[in-house]
């Protein structure tokens, strides 16, 4: 009962947020809808007992990625010029009818491919009874420190590289005087 309610609310939040990202014409609003959608995904994780994953989702997305996006929008905002450097009229940043048509075509094609892949999967796996949810933190920690230790270390190097790389890339370069 309670789990079903949580699941329904999270699913509505996720799908509604994603569709609102598609339809929103304002980048800032799209970012807020994305935040709602990510929170919905965290709720969906909770429904299947992935508690650590849900908390990670909250920490990384709400605290990190969305604020980064908002910062980038603010630092690059304010230029709504309709023409590009060569004086040619360009497509509006949030898309027009043509791009939307192409996008819906792409979405339909990928939907057909995915459904084609998924149908046999769903046929051979009739929904079984749910196993009760258990705490995952300890098992996840053990797995990360034993079986997946190499991937864990590599991801730490990746994060360090991303940190340094982002700082180096976005720093304004000084003119070189010799």
């Amino acid at each position: 009962m309670f789990a079903n309610t949580l699941f329904l609310a999270s699913a509505c939040l996720t799908i509604g947020g994603a569709i609102a990202v598609v339809y929103s014409k304002n980048l800032m609003h799209a970012c807020i809808y994305l935040l709602a959608s990510l929170f919905g995904v965290a709720g969906l994780y909770t429904c299947i007992g992935a508690d650590f994953l849900a908390a990670t989702q909250l920490v990384v997305y709400a605290g990190g990625v969305v604020i980064l996006m908002l910062f980038a929008i603010m630092l690059t905002g304010g230029t709504s010029n309709k023409v590009n450097r060569f004086g040619l009229e360009k497509i509006p940043a949030m898309g027009n009818k043509k791009t939307f048509f192409i996008a819906s075509f792409a979405a339909v094609v990928s939907a057909m491919i995915i459904v084609k892949i998924l149908i046999p999967v769903l046929k051979q796996n009739p929904s079984s009874a749910l196993s009760p949810n258990e705490p995952t933190v300890e098992r996840l920690g053990t797995l990360l420190a034993t079986d997946h230790i190499l991937a864990f270390e590599i991801s730490s190097v990746l994060l360090l590289g991303a940190l340094v790389g982002a700082a180096v890339i976005s720093r304004p370069r000084k003119e070189i005087h010799d």
Partner: protein
């Protein structure tokens, strides 16, 4: 109600919305929003398969790594966007065509 098929459906919708946003938008940051949606869809899929197929938490690990990669991608991508804005005063994807032709 909580079943594999419903989770797959939700992740399908997320993925399609991500594809749609990626293709339709001409703003680089909006394209990054679409990429976030797609990465979330795949992470959700991994977690759902773990729960409904074998419950051995390998999928959770994959989801964690996907979240890590999403964070790194957002940081570097937005760094590139800000640098690009400093150079071109625009974040329109069609202005980033110097390497074309």
């Amino acid at each position: 109600m909580i079943s594999l098929s419903s989770y797959l459906f939700i992740s399908l919708v997320l993925f399609l919305c991500g594809i749609f946003v990626m293709v339709a938008r001409k703003n680089i940051i909006a394209i990054l929003l679409g990429i976030e949606l797609i990465l979330n869809a795949s992470a959700l899929n991994f977690a759902a398969y773990t729960k409904f197929l074998n419950n051995n938490l390998e999928g959770h690990i994959m989801s964690l790594f996907i979240i890590v990669i999403a964070a790194a991608e957002a940081a570097v991508g937005l760094g590139i966007v800000i640098r690009f804005f400093q150079l071109r005063e625009s974040i329109h994807i069609d202005d980033a065509s110097t390497l074309q032709n």
